[in-house]
């Protein structure tokens, strides 16, 4: 009985820790919070139904990311493409700017930081959802092998997706990046 309670406690802790992270990630992929919540809830409940099969506190995070990634990609690819080019142009075409220091707190730095955040969001929204998933998963610390597993694709294809995503973001954020990389 105690063992069962302890296991439930661990499972609840795991859910409380992982769901906010996965929901934030899902929101960046499908862009609609309600849809993201629906997909995360669906995937999480399906995983929890197999709590006796998997060690979820240990392995569940990767399984959940994998399942949510695929659900989000499938959902996004069923939708009509959304046009965000105007927003993108407004965000990134207004000349050359230096990348701001997030530690700076002056009004100019804060404004630049805000502008950069908008530019990144617009740039992220402009790239295909599978590339978006690849670069987000990689940036969150998953290895390329894990990214490939989560995307249910080959290692080579995951590498291509990641490369294309980085290149697309580099192009779109060129004016912000060029002063930073020497």
């Amino acid at each position: 009985m105690d063992h069962s309670k302890s296991a439930d406690g661990k499972l609840n802790t795991w859910v409380s820790e992982v769901v906010p992270q996965v929901l934030g990630y899902a929101c960046t992929l499908v862009r609609t919070r309600q849809v993201a919540e629906d997909l995360v809830q669906d995937c999480c409940c399906r995983l929890l139904a197999k709590a006796d099969v998997y060690n979820l506190p240990r392995d569940g995070t990767k399984l959940l990311y994998r399942s949510v990634t695929n659900a989000c990609i499938n959902w996004t690819q069923r939708q009509s493409p959304e046009v965000s080019l105007d927003q993108l142009q407004n965000s990134v075409s207004s000349g050359r700017r230096a990348l701001s220091d997030s530690a700076s707190s002056g009004p100019v730095q804060m404004a630049m930081q805000h502008e950069l955040e908008q530019a990144i969001e617009a740039a992220m929204n402009a790239i295909p959802v599978d590339q978006r998933a690849a670069i987000e998963l990689r940036s969150l610390g998953h290895s390329l092998v894990e990214v490939a597993e989560m995307l249910e694709t080959s290692h080579g294809n995951a590498r291509v997706l990641l490369h294309r995503a980085r290149r697309a973001l580099a192009d779109r954020l060129k004016s912000y990046l060029e002063d930073q990389v020497r």
Binding site: L11, N12, V15, S16, V19, P20, Q21, L23, G24, Y25, C27, T28, T32, R33, Q34, V35, E37, D38, V40, Q41, D42, C44, C45, R46, L48, A49, A51, R78, Q79, S80, L99, S102, L116, E117, I120, E121, M124, I135, E136, R138, S139, L140, R166, L169, A170, L173, L177, Q180, V181, R182
Partner: protein
């Protein structure tokens, strides 16, 4: 890869990581965590006693049940009880979202389904001066996100459809047709409402409407009938929806086809009425039937509504009167 490329990749990854982390911080996920944990805490399979009056967990609360009764009215309950009556609930639980994905997949196929669609306005909030708000009966053909519907609202008859490219059309007679933009957000409000109420295609219902709802499913059966899966959809806590408050779907678990659908609609925060869809047949009809041209004569007047569309009165007059 050069050293400079490497540095740039690191910088991009760093920016992306910050972007994702910002989104995580912006979102309050406590309600979702609670729902997931509640769902997980529920015993499965359920062993509740069979009860027609309390078909799902969410209706076990008498308070909720009374609220539903007062809210929806006796006529609405009659619609629901009409097809629930006489069935035995075996209380097997199922993953509602998973079932709906199967239904969505089935209805995304190139198969045509014909539904009888009946709208009963809520008598308390029925604006009798607006004919288009009245009771309606229509026959609806759907294929994926395409549809065409033969509608009768009071003494007004017209046909309405959405083609493969998303264009919505309406035709009051063989002599006249009106085409609208392929952007639903730019349809005249009255047309948008008529489309939503009379032509809820399954993919659109599941993609655009039920994302705001909590789902509960239950399998029902009777000695004489095949098994059916019922899915109740209730608005998630602290959510509002511009069109719906509740929905009930009846699904054939074998074919994954939507057999019946009841929508409790709202308008401006008040109950508007119920829409009941009943499957009449599954068949194959020609692509042409989803197009406006099929429903008008070759010399008919076709109006193209320029955008942006104002919230104007829908002109369903015959061409001879309007031109």
């Amino acid at each position: 890869m050069t050293h400079q490329d490497d540095g740039q990749n690191h910088l991009i990854d760093h920016l992306v990581r910050n972007y994702v982390e910002r989104r995580v911080k912006e979102i309050d996920s406590s309600a979702l965590v609670e729902r997931i944990l509640d769902d997980h805490a529920q015993p499965r399979p359920a062993v509740a006693e069979p009860s027609i009056g309390q078909p799902i967990d969410r209706l076990k609360s008498n308070w909720r049940w009374m609220k539903l009764v007062s809210w929806c009215g006796i006529s609405t309950l009659a619609v629901v009880f009409g097809f629930l009556y006489g069935r035995h609930f075996d209380n097997r639980t199922a993953n509602a979202s998973l079932i709906l994905r199967d239904v969505q997949s089935e209805h995304a196929q190139e198969t045509d389904y014909c539904y009888r669609v009946r709208f009963d306005p809520d008598p308390r909030y029925w604006n009798r001066n607006n004919k288009l708000d009245g009771p309606s009966l229509s026959h609806l053909w759907t294929r994926g996100d395409r549809f065409w519907s033969d509608c009768t609202i009071g003494d007004i008859k017209f046909k309405l459809g959405r083609e493969a490219n998303g264009t919505v059309w309406i035709s009051p007679s063989r002599n006249k047709g009106i085409r609208f933009s392929n952007s639903p957000s730019r349809l005249p409000k009255v047309v948008e409402q008529i489309c939503l109420i009379n032509s809820m295609s399954v993919p659109r219902l599941l993609n655009e409407v039920l994302v705001d709802f909590d789902l509960n499913s239950q399998t029902v059966s009777s000695p004489t009938e095949e098994q059916r899966t019922l899915i109740w959809a209730h608005l998630k806590p602290n959510r509002t929806h511009s069109l719906l408050s509740h929905a009930l779907l009846e699904i054939d678990p074998r074919t994954k086809v939507l057999i019946r659908l009841v929508l409790w609609t709202v308008q401006d925060g008040h109950p508007k009425g119920t829409v009941a869809f009943t499957l009449l047949e599954k068949a194959m009809i020609t692509d042409d039937q989803y197009k406006l041209r099929f429903h008008v004569d070759s010399d008919a007047v076709i109006e193209i509504q320029a955008l942006p569309a104002p919230d104007y009165e829908l002109d369903l007059a015959e061409p001879s009167e309007s031109t």
